[in-house]
């Protein structure tokens, strides 16, 4: 842990020595580290819980594995792998903390606004499912599209409403009429 602290100190020092845009980079590296520690910590908790749950199922014998055997092996292996990741991360930057994922646009810095947008977006998706169950596909699809456009805040309301209505009708025609998918009708139809 002491090594991790000294790594952060080194980063902070390096950022202060570079005059231009480096401080932003330094902030990003530190916050990405904290974020990662939290995520890996949650993963460790999940793997421990999974392993404990696996113990609740019958384990059988070595030649006759039962419902709990395979999950127990996987849970134990997962816990060990996550612990190794945690230890390596604590030891300082390594290839997995510094190298970019092959498709990691979402790991670009976006600030607090970006996180709020993601949260609102997810709430919108949950709202869609709740509406799908109660009000049906027509209203749910209209609302989800409208809220996505509202979150983008890039065009006048009449354009947003028009696009939401056309998507509502379009999705009905594609799924219900063309593909014969019985979409939830709720109280609207």
């Amino acid at each position: 842990m002491r090594k991790a602290v000294s790594w952060r100190r080194e980063l902070r020092g390096a950022a202060e020595r570079v005059p231009t845009r480096a401080p932003l980079r330094h902030l990003r590296a530190v916050s990405a580290g904290r974020y990662r520690v939290i995520v890996i910590g949650l993963l460790l908790a999940t793997s421990c819980l999974y392993t404990l749950y696996a113990l609740a199922y019958p384990l059988g014998a070595i030649t006759r594995p039962e419902a709990g055997t395979f999950p127990l092996i996987i849970g134990t292996a997962l816990t060990i792998a996550v612990l190794v990741v945690l230890v390596r991360d604590a030891a300082g930057p390594n290839e997995s903390t510094l190298l970019a994922d092959d498709d990691d646009v979402a790991s670009e810095p976006a600030g607090v606004g970006g996180e709020v947008r993601v949260l609102l977006f997810l709430l919108n998706l949950v709202l869609y499912v709740l509406l799908l169950d109660t009000a049906g596909q027509f209203i749910a699809s209209f609302v989800v599209v409208l809220v996505v456009l509202l979150l983008a805040r890039s065009r006048p309301p009449w354009q947003q409403a028009l696009f939401a209505i056309s998507m509502m009708i379009g999705s009905y025609l594609i799924f219900e009429v063309l593909l014969n998918v019985p979409l939830p009708q709720g109280f609207t139809f």
């Binding site: 974020y35 997962l78 990691d104 979402a106 998507m167 593909l179």
Partner: protein
Amino acid sequence: MDFSLLSAALADLFTPSALIGLLVGTLVGSLTGVLPGLGAVGAMAVLMPFSVSLDATGAIVMLTGVYIGAQYGGSTTAILLRLPGESSSVITSIDGFEMTKRGRGGAALAISAIGSFVAGTLSVAALMFAAPALSDVAIRFSAPEFLTLAVLALFALSRVAAGSLALSLAAALLGVALSTVGVDPISGLPRFTFGIQELSRGLETATIAVGLFGLAEILGSVRSKRHQFDVANVRMRDLIPSREEVRRSGAPILRGSGIGFLFGLMPGPAAVLSTYASYGVERRVSKRKDEFGRGAVEGVAGPESANNAASGGAMVPLLALGIPFAAPTAILLGALTLQDVAPGPLLITQQPVLFLSIILGLYAANIVLLLLNLPLVRIFTLLLRVPQDFLLAGIVLVTLVGTYAVRNSIFDVYVVIAMGLLGHVMIRARIPRAPMILGFVLGAVIETSFSQTMALSGGDAFYLLHRPIALVFAVATVLVLVAPMLLGFVRRWRAPDIPERRREEAHETE
């Protein structure tokens, strides 16, 4: 060659279902490649629920069309804007964009499309011969062989995925753990269902893939608010390459095809890795090494052929063994499962028409993509001007309704949202997602073959020694784990000698 089978496969390919799949897949793939964001695997995942409405041939042709189409489309923006739509087009953007700056962007696009087509043709031909040959061997496989092969695939992908081995393995094991949710295949006991009825059916591959790749990419776009692009104008007459450019591209296309196909046979992100390998080879064998990085046509022809050939190569282990070696083929396996088709050694002997129609579909996708991409290059690049918010809202709705449509389950839509969040968190924490989807898809195979192997072994710890093929896979797994560490150790051990040797060499020259 049995011509009755061939004609039956052709008849299968000319059904409305397969033709719709072909057209939709290639179009969506090209668009996905052109528009940065969703990615080939994400688009495949989003379209996967729709594949249920098609027959098996249509479903596979549609999804492979997306995969190959994304390679074609990705090169368009890589060459014209230095904006790779796909990670497999990153290498192309180096020399491709330099050619655009010199006014040869159209020629680079044409060479890229022709190279992709030739590579696609060659890889489909190789697939036609390699898959049955491998399947003849694989027909002798039993539980221990499938267990060790699936474990090898997981470890090998974890080794080449971004990040450390432990992290990739953790992601793969998380996928395997998710696959254990539902009824135990041996005893029928419900596991990890927490009293939720819907969970006893297990989690659907489509739901996991759509969330982990499709929705996670959408969340990434929401977070970073991507902007519009200015696009260079390309006229039809600009697309004609010069005689010199064609002459210089021939050998790189053939070499790229070979490299790509071989990489496709191996676990890992074959399309991406093969482009780097092809670029390296071209640079090494070229007489104009100084031109690389400044607009060498070989730097476009080789990698573009390689990434397309890799798509064909990746189909060999999927169709012959039933084991996917990368995320795109894991999604294809999920789509085949939705169609009640089990790929593997028996597919070629028991369903030869389906096997042939899949191969013909792959080839047809290459033809359609060549016909689409060259004349419509201007339209595809203009799509970069489509308002991103409209595009995003449309994709979100299609993703949500498509997920619901797979099993008519509202619960699945909740799962897809949860998986989307998980995928987003994984991207931000730099945890690779490809091993996770592979782990999820292979989880059931590993568990079933593990139980059978344990029963067959009768408690014998050296059982694998009596199964030579399984032993080879087990040794290969150990090598995948240990070899890079040993190589690193040897390199570090030899490193101090290098300056010493240089001093000796300098002394000798003096």
